[in-house]
Amino acid sequence: MKEEQSKEKVKKFGMVIDLDKCTGCGACMVACMAENNVPFKEDESKKLDSITWLRIYKLTNGKPFPDADICYLPRPCQHCGGKGEHGHSPCVSVCPATATDYSKETGIVSQIYTRCFGCRYCMAACPYHARYFNWWDPVWPDGMEKYLSPNVSVRMRGIVEKCSFCFHRYQLAKDKAYFEGRREIEENEYQTACTQACPAGAIAFGDLNNPKHAVYELKKSSNAFRLLERLQTNPKVYYISGREWVRRAGDNYLKDEKK
C-alpha cells in the first residue's frame, strides 16, 4: 500500500482569479459563507471582526473624477508555500500548538479548529489578513441552524479560522472516486464553492502542477501576479489583470523605485 500511495502525484491546488472579469458582486463571499457554515452577527459593518474567509477588497486607482477607476479583488487564504515551496508559510510555523499545517501533498494550509487555542499568532503573521478570530460565539437565530452543513465543523468561540479551499469537497470527491475504484479525481470533481458560484467565471481552481488543469496555463499569463510576492510568501492564488495599476497594487514598491 505504501508503494501504491507514493505513486499519487503531488498536487498543488491553487486559484487564478481574473480581476477583469470579477464584478465585485459578492457571490463568492456568500457561497463561501454558505458552504462553510460561517456565522454572522447583527453588526457586520465592523470589518475587523467580521468573518469572511473570502473577502472582496475594493481597490481604487486614486485618481480624481473622471479618471477614477475601481477594481474588485477577492482574497481567499493565499495558501502560501513559503520560501522554496517548503511549506513554511508565514502562519504555519508560528503556531505553537500545531493547529495549522501545510500539506506537501496538496499544498493546502489547514486549520484545525479543535486544536487551536486562540493565541492569534498566526493572524499576526499573515500579511493578507486572511485569518479570522471567533471573537463571538456563533449564534444562528431561531432554527436557522437547520441549514448548517455537516461537511464542515462549526467553529466555537475563541479560535482562529480561515479558508480551506473547501477541503471537504476534496475529501468527498476522493470518497466517491475510491468508492468507484478510482484513485485520482478529475478537475471538475473538486472545485471550491466560490469558483462554482462565480457568475462571471472569474475564478479558476485546480492543480497548479497539472498541465491538464485550466489554472496551469492561466497562471502563466503575462498579466498574472500574486499579492506581496516580495515578501516571499509564495502564494498559490494568482490574479490576472490587464490594468497596470491593478497589477502594481499587488505589491509594495519604493517611491523612488523604477519599474
Partner: protein, 412 residues
C-alpha cells in the same frame, strides 16, 4: 496585631494603616479580577482587539513585564555566576519583582488566549518551531525557578522559620541556589530572546521582520540584551519607589550604583546594536519588501518618527550616557531620570514591536489600523500592578527582604 509575623529589628507601620493600604490595592485588584472573569466567561469580544490587532495591549504588557522582570535573572546571573557579591543586598528584591512580573505575564497570557481551557495544548502539542512555544516553555520553567528562589524568602518569615522542616528546607535551598540561578539564567536568555523572535520571524510583516542567524532573528538577541540592560533599572526603580513610600533607605547607595553602572554599560552596548539593526533594517531588510523607512512612520495619527527617536535616542542613548558616567550615577536626579528613561525605553521598544507591527498596512489597499484598549483590557493589565503592590507590601512587611534595612535604619 500581626507583630509576631514581622521580622525582628525592623519597624513597620500600624496594622490598620497596612490594612487600609492593602484594601485600596485590593479594590483595584478586584476590578481587574472582574474584568478577567468577564474575558473568561464572555470571551475576547470584551476587548477592543480585532482581526488586525490579534496582538495588542496584553501582549505588549506581557513583553514589557518580562523585559522588566529581567532584572531578576540578570542580577542573579551577576550575583551567582559572575560573582558580584554586593548584589546580595538587592537580589531578594530583584527576585520578588521578577516573580511578580513573571506570574503576571502568565496570568495575562491565560486571559489573552481565546480558549483558556485548552491552553495546555501549547505544552502537550508543542510545535517546537514556534517562538511562542519556546516562550511558553521557558517562561513557565523560569517562573518555576523564580518560585524556587522566592520560597526560601517566605520560609524566612519568623513564624515559618520556627518549623524545623521549613527551616531546613530554606537552608538547603540556599545552599544550592547557584544551580537554580544558573538554570534560570539559561532559560531566561532563551525566552527573552524568543519574545524578540515573536515579531522578528514574521516575514509577512516587514515592520517586525529581521534577518538573523539560523532560526534566530536579530531581535532575538536584542531582546535578551535589552532585558538584561533595562531589567535592573526596573529593580532599582521599584526599590527607589519602595524607599520613597516607606520613607526608609533600604539598599545602600553603592549597591544601587554598581547595578546602575552595569546596566549603563549594557544599555550602551545594546543601543549600539539596536542602532545598527535599525539602520540595516531601514536600508536593506524593509526596502527588499518594498518599504522605505518613512512608510512605517507616516500617514497615520500616532506612529510618527518621534517614536523611533524616543526609543533609541531619548530612552536609549541618554540613559546609557548618564549611567555610564560616574557623575551621572552619583547625581540622584540624573540617576532617577536615566532609570525611568531606560524602563520607558524597554516598554516603548516592546510597544512598537507588538502594536506597530499590527498597525502598518502590508497590502497596498489596506489602511493603517489604530487601536485603543477597552476598559476590560486596561483593568486586566492593571490587575498585575495591584497584585504586585500587594505582594511587595506583604513581603516587605513580613519577610526579611532587605538585608541592609536594619543597618541603614538603626533607630528602629
Amino acid at each position: 496585631m500581626d507583630s509576631a509575623l514581622i521580622p525582628r529589628g525592623v519597624k513597620r507601620c500600624p496594622t490598620w494603616q497596612f490594612a487600609l493600604w492593602i484594601g485600596a490595592a485590593g479594590a483595584v485588584l478586584l476590578w481587574g479580577v472582574f474584568a478577567m472573569l468577564l474575558c473568561w466567561f464572555k470571551g475576547l469580544n470584551q476587548t477592543n482587539m480585532n482581526d488586525a490587532y490579534g496582538f495588542a495591549l496584553w501582549i505588549w504588557a506581557d513583553l514589557a513585564v518580562i523585559a522588566l522582570g529581567g532584572g531578576a535573572f540578570f542580577t542573579g546571573f551577576l550575583r551567582y555566576i559572575v560573582g558580584k557579591d554586593e548584589l546580595k543586598n538587592i537580589i531578594n528584591y530583584a527576585v520578588l519583582i521578577g516573580f511578580i512580573c513573571y506570574s503576571s505575564a502568565l496570568l495575562i497570557l491565560a486571559i489573552d488566549i481565546g480558549q483558556p481551557l485548552r491552553g495546555w495544548f501549547i505544552f502537550w502539542h508543542a510545535n517546537v518551531h514556534s517562538m511562542l512555544t519556546e516562550v511558553a516553555f521557558c517562561l513557565t520553567c523560569y517562573f518555576g525557578v523564580l518560585t524556587i528562589e522566592y520560597v526560601p524568602l517566605i520560609l524566612e518569615n519568623r513564624q515559618i522559620d520556627k518549623i524545623p522542616f521549613f527551616h531546613r528546607l530554606g537552608h538547603n535551598m540556599h545552599e544550592i541556589m547557584a544551580v537554580f540561578a544558573a538554570t534560570g539564567a539559561f532559560l531566561s536568555f532563551f525566552h527573552q530572546g524568543s519574545l524578540g523572535g515573536v515579531s522578528g520571524v514574521l516575514f509577512g510583516r516587514p515592520f517586525g521582520y529581521r534577518e538573523g542567524i539560523f532560526i534566530w532573528p536579530w531581535t532575538f538577541f536584542l531582546y535578551t540584551w535589552s532585558a538584561a540592560a533595562c531589567g535592573p533599572c526596573f529593580t532599582i526603580l521599584i526599590t527607589k519607589i519602595t524607599e520613597k513610600i516607606t520613607g526608609k533607605k533600604l539598599v545602600k547607595q553603592n549597591v544601587i550604583e554598581l547595578l546602575a553602572k552595569i546596566s549603563g554599560w549594557m544599555i550602551g552596548t545594546y543601543i549600539i546594536a539596536k542602532i545598527i539593526d535599525t539602520w540595516y533594517w531601514a536600508k536593506v531588510t524593509a526596502p527588499a519588501a518594498g518599504f522605505n523607512l518613512m512608510d512605517f512612520y507616516s500617514n497615520n495619527p500616532f506612529y510618527g518618527i518621534w517614536i523611533l527617536v524616543l526609543e533609541i535616542v531619548i530612552c536609549g542613548v541618554v540613559p546609557a550616557m548618564i549611567l555610564i558616567s560616574e557623575k551621572g550615577r552619583k547625581n540622584p536626579a540624573a540617576l532617577m531620570t536615566a532609570i525611568i528613561l531606560a524602563v520607558l525605553g524597554a516598554c516603548v521598544n516592546r510597544w512598537v514591536m507588538v502594536l506597530q507591527v499590527m498597525a502598518v498596512p502590508v497590502l497596498t489597499f489596506e489602511n493603517w489600523v489604530m487601536y485603543y484598549p477597552s476598559w476590560q483590557e486596561v483593568a486586566t493589565t492593571i490587575l498585575p500592578v495591584a497584585y504586585g503592590v500587594i505582594l511587595i507590601s506583604l513581603s516587605y512587611r513580613y519577610l526579611p527582604i532587605f538585608p541592609q534595612e536594619q543597618e541603614l535604619n538603626p533607630e528602629a
